[in-house]
Amino acid sequence: MFRAGLLCVVSLTAAAGPEILQKRCLSCHNPQAKMGGLSLASRADAARVLAGPMAARVSAGQMPPGGGLAPEEKQQLLAWLEKGAPWEGSLAAPSRPRAGRDWWSLQPLRPQSGSIDSFIEASLQSKGLALSPPASKRTLIRRVYFDLTGLPPSPADVDAFLADNSPAAYERLVDKLLASPHYGERWGRHWMDVIRFGESHGYEQNHVRPTAWRFRDYLIRSFNNDVPYNRLILEHLAGDQLAPGNPDIEIGTAFLVAGPHDTVGNQAEAFKRQQRADDLDDIVNATASAFLGLTVNCAKCHDHKFDPILQKDYYRLASVFAGVHHAERVIAPPAQLAAFRAATAPLEARIKSINQSLDALRKQAAPALPAAEKRVRAARREPVSPFGTEENFAPTSARFLRLHMPANAPGGLDEIQVWTPDGRNVALGARVEASSTRVADGNPDAYHARFLTDGAFDKRWFAAPGSAPVTVTLEWAQPATVARVSWSTDRLKAFQGRFQQPTLARYQLSLSTDGKSWTPVASDEGRLPDRAGEQERLFVLEALGPAAAAEFTAAETELAAAVAALAKVEKPPRAYAGEFRQPTEPVYLHKGGNVMQRGDPVEPASLSALPGFSLPLDSPEAERRLALAKWIASDTNPLTPRVMANRLWHYHFGAGLVATPSDFGFNGERPSHPELLDYLAQRLIHYRWRLKPLHREILLSRTYRQSSAWNDAAGKADASARLLWRFPPQRLQAEAIRDNMLAVAGVLDPTIGGPSFSLYKYTVDNVATYFPLDTFGPETYRRAVYAQSARSIRTELLSVHDCPDSSLPEPRRVVTTSPLQALSLLNNSFTTDMATAFAKRIAAHPDPVRHAFLLAFGRPPEPAEAAAAATLVQSHGLPALARAILNTNEFVYVH
């Protein structure tokens, strides 16, 4: 019995070893992929690691990458190894375990002959399907307007198009819209999704980047000007090198730093390194996913599990970006910089020379300084102290104390005490009123004035930052004779040392019995200043004697004037476009992705799966970025044109030929029409990388112009219209819904570019907090692309309609349907405002209902609709009709 049981255990363990290898290791270590030159398919293959290395790496949790085996599996595998790894037969490699260098997207573009329609029709025919008939002109104009500009056609636009019977009418419409400045707003916004463009830092502090909008304007401008895509790539990665001094191009490097960045300082070494590694990771990921459609970031800790991307490849790209740092930098034309320098140089020289005179006077004072210091100290009272300051005065009867402090008084106070001659604090529990109190959002209590008399020193009152002169009034229950007032900022000495809080240094104290007439009893008059610098100044003045002291103060006045003049010189514009510094050390491979485990240094280079470049470890920073940019933007890089052509298709039809637009690897979807994809990629190069001709070719195809009408037979074969037997209907993107409301209401402010407007109230108390607005002024009536896009922040109407958070790239927005969308469209004050404006607009028209339908849907109402609308309007007025229309499906769907 016992023997049998034991045998049973042994044989179980024996089987478990290969089973675990099959399950956990073979996807990489199979005879084809042979990651790390190792196959584990048979005992013979695995021989060299069975004796020791496998046990070591498995028990250390290094293999498999990403955390090792589960405890029970680990135990079983180690037990099996210890038993001499009994193993018969060989393991089958998983079928198509991963992509190799022969992966489809890495192959050169294959020449194709045909047209968009011929490729689509060929694949439809193979399934017994065909294109649908052309869409109606009304449907088509609405479709192409939203597609190219994100805005609806006006009733006049629709009428003109309907009236134009020439065969070129549609072509002319397409050309007009491609030339519209709204094209760049729409397609620039798509690109911002792809490249995780956001206007705040993200992470804990999440402060706004006030100059990030300049890059947004650059993108819109570039799309409108149809800057060739291969040129755009160069500008994104190395605009500073292409056209130094040309702000319109230099700004392109904002792409590199458009992602999140942790601004919280960290003293711990491992975490400092981690923060830097995270910055580089964001840049590598953004670059590889946007331009190449590759998930290179999956190779940070180990070789890519599915694609032919080595861990070393990841660090090659990191090495390319090793000199890129998050920062604003001055981006201005040379003339403006020269003018700035011309204005500031004399002032700076002046400041330098005054400082020299002051230093000379200080030197002159030096011999007499010790004696002077003694005299000043003797003549003055003790300086105030954050740990406690007191004022004594003649006993006075009072029920009120008033403390006046000048504007911008620093620091907070933890307690104010008012003492009777016999040592009783009458202010304990006294009522306090402060003319200014700092507010921490959501917690008006955080710095409450009542902490001043609560008898405890842990909580502090603070005046609001940047306040006018402040008054604090204490009122206690019974009049009392008082003779001393004391206060402190840090009585517990909790902040002593590095964290010293400045305390109140300028003040006046008054007492009152009735709260009306006040008697001054003390002030800071005659105190030695509490700051060392100010003390030093007094000693110097005393040591210099009257004449030289006058000279000293005159120089100080001049200095202040020069500093003020310097501050007034208009500064050249800055933009959040990154700073570049030559790295002082190479980038090292991080073993297992751990920043504290350095492997070999890695040279800046392209990805090993494709022919490319490699630069020396210490090559100049800018050369690295330029080399990568040229490699990506090359006509022979098979990924770049495929990925971009597919993005265009994705936004025109709602789904790409490759349905995962930033993943052309093993985990991504395979192309639905591989020949068409290669055709489009080659057309892009043929058009010298300009997007507009490619848009035009797509938009003029019969595939794009066909009806979206449902057809049961075709629907059965291909429900999602992946093969494009119809034009797939689409819900408007979040931005287009909001823009459409503004446009239809007739209040859209069409201004292009400039600083962002805000859909939240922004407050900063160490960290930033964003409160969604409850009311929306006309400054928010601009297109949503100009709404400041802070990371991780929900902006109601936009967020519920799937506008992505820019913390991560979003190449493909999910489209959801939820009750919160209904609530925000029904009840948010923005809708009510738009309904009111819309109602006002149609009221001016002889047939308001008809006009409302024309504006909102691009069609007149049917009789039943008109009748129902009339009933609604009769009972509840035009605003009810307007609000209803803004909530309809027809308003937010394009067919």
């Binding site: 922040i793 919160l820 609604l872």
Partner: protein, 456 residues
């Protein structure tokens, strides 16, 4: 169901909506159906709450052996510093707990502790987000969103996932803690609390009830006609249904927030009438949490404290300089209401299928921060617990060293913790995935082992 199939279904509005309403299927028989996750932002000191270290008391004032002048998040550290409060043994299990949490201490026999938690970040924002999403970077779905995605809603008139921020404000990194990330937006945590209702819930004040009704009626008429012209497009019907759902939510949400419907005894149990206004506010949020799960809300995230203020430790558990004053402010706020919530859930039979989680960002150093009487961040050791459905009360997993500086036995991560929570919900954490940018993403990244010692 394969990921791509599941994602395809999300693309089809009607089916997605049905799923949102009626829920998905767990992978195996669940122990828990719903979750209340309490979160204390700022990084609660394990050394002053649940991780008793006699050696730290003994050697207080001495340099930490092997860790002299160690530099952590804010800078240099001083000597070892004992907890300002006594530890006492509570419950049948004799668990050592700080004397300052008397109400929670009474419940230790129900709690399962993880004493060996470690965080990947020593900074508030990333550490908060890591605890809630499994990733230090923002943009990943929170545990509540994954739960909503996996199991759907249990009601048709309230959100599936609610986040209840503290009256003092939102936690570090704010909404990134209850985001749906790249999951469909309907899995987003809806944030409101006992003092701030759901936004956009109420009909605008300027619009009368009948006007609202007729307006919506007319919109639905247009929608039905439009849908009839476009057969085969199920999204259109789905969107029509959301307006009905919204109407239901408009009726139900005010009802769930009406705490006045609760008995006086219940209010006293929670402490909603406390003179400590912050305690009272948190107590009301606890009561709201119970009412939400009672009405079928799947996942409630409940915050006790908020973000990092200009003064450390004022608004949350981030006691850098004045540990004693800070925690004497925070302990009572947490203690009575949280204990009341647990007792109330139990009394109503809800604890049988509800999981209560207590979580934070990271722990704190056993040394005092140089020049202060506070503790700096410590990502190498912290304590969390869970109790309720399927949890083995009075158990503990893992341990820290003699001083609580580092987790040393059965070192655990948020991925292990969430693997365990998902397991209790009947979900295999390796199978709950969503394809995004090249990877089938999981709440547990590529890590995580179920902490079986915590299971009943």
């Amino acid at each position: 169901m394969s990921t791509s199939r599941r994602q395809l279904i999300h693309g089809l509005g009607a089916v997605a909506l049905a799923r949102l309403l009626h829920g998905g299927q767990p992978h195996f028989a669940p122990k828990a159906k719903r979750v209340i996750q309490i979160f204390c932002p700022g990084g609660v000191s394990h050394l002053d709450t649940f991780d008793y270290k006699p050696e730290l008391e003994k050697r207080s004032g001495q340099p930490m052996p092997g860790g002299e002048k160690e530099v952590s998040f804010q800078g240099a550290n001083g000597n070892l510093m004992r907890s300002p409060w006594k530890f006492v043994q509570r419950g049948q299990s004799g668990k050592w707990v700080t004397e300052k949490l008397p109400h929670l201490g009474a419940l230790v026999d129900r709690m399962a502790f993880v004493h060996s938690m470690t965080s990947r970040s020593n900074t508030h924002g990333p550490a908060c987000v890591a605890m809630n999403t499994g990733f230090v970077f923002e943009g990943f779905p929170s545990a509540g969103a994954w739960t909503s995605y996996a199991l759907g809603s249990m009601n048709d008139n309230l959100p599936a996932y609610v986040a209840i921020p503290d009256v003092r404000g939102i936690p570090p990194s704010g909404p990134a803690n209850w985001t749906s990330g790249f999951l469909p937006a309907q899995h987003q945590g809806i944030s409101f609390n006992a003092s701030e209702p759901i936004r956009n819930l109420e009909r605008p004040a300027t619009i009368g009830e009948q006007t609202d009704k007729d307006t919506r009626g007319f919109a639905q008429l247009l929608n039905q006609r439009h849908a009839a012209r476009h057969p085969g497009d199920s999204e259109l019907q789905a969107r029509i249904a959301t307006y009905e759902l919204a109407a239901r939510m408009q009726l139900s949400a005010p009802e769930v927030s009406n705490l006045a419907a609760e008995s006086k005894a219940t209010h006293e149990l929670y402490g909603t009438g406390s003179a400590n206004t912050l305690l009272a506010a948190y107590a009301r949020n606890c009561l709201l949490a119970r009412r939400l799960v009672e009405r079928g809300v799947r996942y409630v995230q409940l915050y006790c404290a908020s973000r990092a203020s200009g003064v450390d430790g004022l608004l949350n558990w981030d006691a850098h300089k004045t540990l004693q004053a800070d925690y004497e402010r925070h302990f009572p706020i947490l203690d009575q209401p949280t204990a009341a919530l647990i007792k109330d859930l139990d009394a109503r039979g809800l604890l049988a299928d509800t999981l209560v989680l207590w979580t934070t960002e990271f722990g704190r150093m056993p040394t005092h921060q140089e020049g202060t009487l506070g503790r700096d961040h410590n990502p190498d050791a912290y304590t969390v617990w869970m109790l309720g459905a399927g949890v083995r009360g009075g158990s503990a997993h893992g341990a820290t060293d003699d001083f609580g500086r580092r987790a040393v036995s059965d070192v655990s991560t948020v991925h292990d913790y969430w693997a365990t929570v998902l397991h209790l919900l009947g979900l295999d954490h390796e199978k709950l995935t969503w394809y995004h940018n090249g990877i089938n993403r999981r709440l547990t990244d590529v890590h995580g082992h179920v902490l079986r010692s915590l299971l009943a």
